[in-house]
């Protein structure tokens, strides 16, 4: 059941109060809408969310960890992994000016009753843009806290009316070496593709971001539209999305394809399962000197652990 146990963090510690209240409201609404509108197969986790009580439960957690402070805008926008613009952390901020996020269109297709290509404005319009403050944990053992602006991926999926065969969601980055010079190198198999299981994609924490810090998403952060899945390693959160495809089979995903022993499909943040070449037990929060202990599911276990009940997370890393 969703939100059953108290979370590791007080949400009030993460999020400025006003935003936090918004988020509470949002989760309430999302959970309510989700429970009402979605088949149990699509979002079993949501059925447990009971609107108004959610916020109170979230606020009741005991925060053993130090509180989260927002990572400065400067750091969030100059320290990026976005190989389409180069493999150094500083490269995307320097090179991503070649990306043209306007006009932009998104194709939603696959196992859906209503496949369609949307202009970005029409794609976003039906949803309310919310602010979500999430921890971002990179597989390289560093982390940030980012105030995103976005809306649940679930909105998009529901609108497309998934067929009964829809088991996974595949999200694809733009492929255009003219705009993304890094794609001229063979460092990864382009275009970048990521995927989620349907219940992960429908989870209210999973959002499509259109901005951060209340501003339009900078190119280097994945303009104009990117995924954010806060309980998974950052590489799952695919950037500059042009296609969302629902599939019956587990999609191929870029990092998994590039080194399957190092990057799994699930890629849930898990301090107990090390990357073969480095430990995942701790992380460096940017701006902090001492490393922090990494939390199971990046601290979102209360909300998402139930998605993986009975799964061997060592095998399904």
């Amino acid at each position: 059941m969703l939100f059953k146990r108290p979370p590791d963090y007080r949400s009030s510690e993460i999020t400025p109060e006003a935003l936090y209240l918004d988020r509470r409201k949002f989760i309430g609404i999302a959970a309510g809408v989700g429970a009402a509108a979605t088949a149990a197969a699509l979002a079993p986790a949501l059925l447990g969310g009971r609107g108004g009580s959610t916020g109170a439960r979230l606020a009741g957690g005991m925060g053993e960890q130090k509180p989260d402070k927002l990572t400065p805008y400067e750091d969030v926008t100059t320290y990026n992994n976005f190989y389409e613009f180069g493999t150094d952390k500083e490269d995307p901020a320097q090179n991503a000016h070649t990306l043209r996020p306007k006009p932009w269109s998104v194709l939603v297709d696959g196992e859906v009753a209503r496949p369609a290509t949307y202009q970005l404005e029409d794609f976003i319009k039906p949803s309310t843009i919310e602010e979500r403050v999430y921890r971002l944990r990179c597989v390289e053992a560093w982390s940030m806290v980012i105030p995103w602006n976005g809306f649940p991926l679930a909105n998009v999926i529901r609108r497309a009316q998934p067929t009964s065969k829809a088991k996974f969601v595949e999200l694809t980055t733009l492929f255009d070496p003219k705009q993304m010079p890094g794609q001229r190198s063979g460092v990864l198999a382009w275009p970048y593709v990521e995927g989620l299981r349907m219940d992960e994609a429908m989870h209210p924490l999973t959002i499509l971001a259109t901005g951060l810090y209340g501003k339009t998403l900078p190119n280097q952060n994945g303009a104009p539209l990117r995924l954010v899945v806060p309980w998974k390693y950052g590489f799952k959160s695919v950037k500059s999305i042009v296609r969302i495809r629902l599939t019956e089979r587990m999609p191929r995903t870029t990092w998994n394809e590039s080194a399957s022993n190092e990057y799994g499909f699930y890629a849930n943040v898990n301090p107990e399962v090390d990357h073969p070449r480095w430990s995942q037990a701790k992380e460096r929060r940017l701006g902090e000197f001492l490393r922090r202990d990494t939390l199971m599911f990046n601290g979102y276990g209360d909300q998402v652990a139930s998605l993986y009940t009975g799964m061997d997370l060592r095998k399904n890393f």
Binding site: T71, Y83, W142, V187, S279, R284, L286, L290
Partner: protein
Amino acid sequence: MADPARSARGGPPKSESAPLPAPPRDHSHATRSLRPPRGWGAVGRGFAWSRVGKPLAVLLALVPVARLALGGVTDNLGANPIEALEHGTGLWTLRFLAITLAITPARKLTGWNWLAKYRRMLGLFTFFYATLHLLVYAGLDMTLDVGDIVEDVVKHPYVTLGMLGWLLLVPLAVTSTTAWIRRLGGRRWARLHRLAYVVAALGTIHFYWLVKKDVSEPLFYAGVFGVLLGYRALASVARRRRAARAVPAARAGDRVAAASG
């Protein structure tokens, strides 16, 4: 001491007590040069320069660490300064090792024998940057958590190799003095200092295993070290051939070749 390297040096004994330092001369000759008598002239010409050149080289070699330190103090190392320091000192270790190993080929190709005077100093700067790298790793990145460091070294091969590389540099740094060259004899000293090639290989693999996907930079260093070691392999083969041909002509030459092998 019946060290052939000594005889290869060829100078009269008083050269050791000459007022102006002999060590680089000793070193370059005992270990590398094939033509003892002619080499002297070139080294001698560069000598006056080295009075200015050495302090200048020291200053230049300290520029990278000064820039890193300044960046650290003024918060100009980007979003992850500890990582920037770690990578910066690591890269400069590889660069100094490459420069150090490039001295001999450069000297042979250009005839600028004065370069030899800078080789041990550059080698010591390699050790200096490697030690800074280790200190940043242990002190800043791992915040001196011994358990974590031990686990990291044991469990993660790229860390193991890096640590091994640093350990192998220690005897090279310790024996970098003229007294140690004398104590070991030029030939044995040179043999010991071939560990630098092993360190080059360890350092490159350490780097290669660290990067996530884009291995172009580690491969660049692999290429540089490949060329530098390849040059030595070819030079050694050529030397042996020449020595073999020279046997009937001059036995002394043979001994020199062996000493510099």
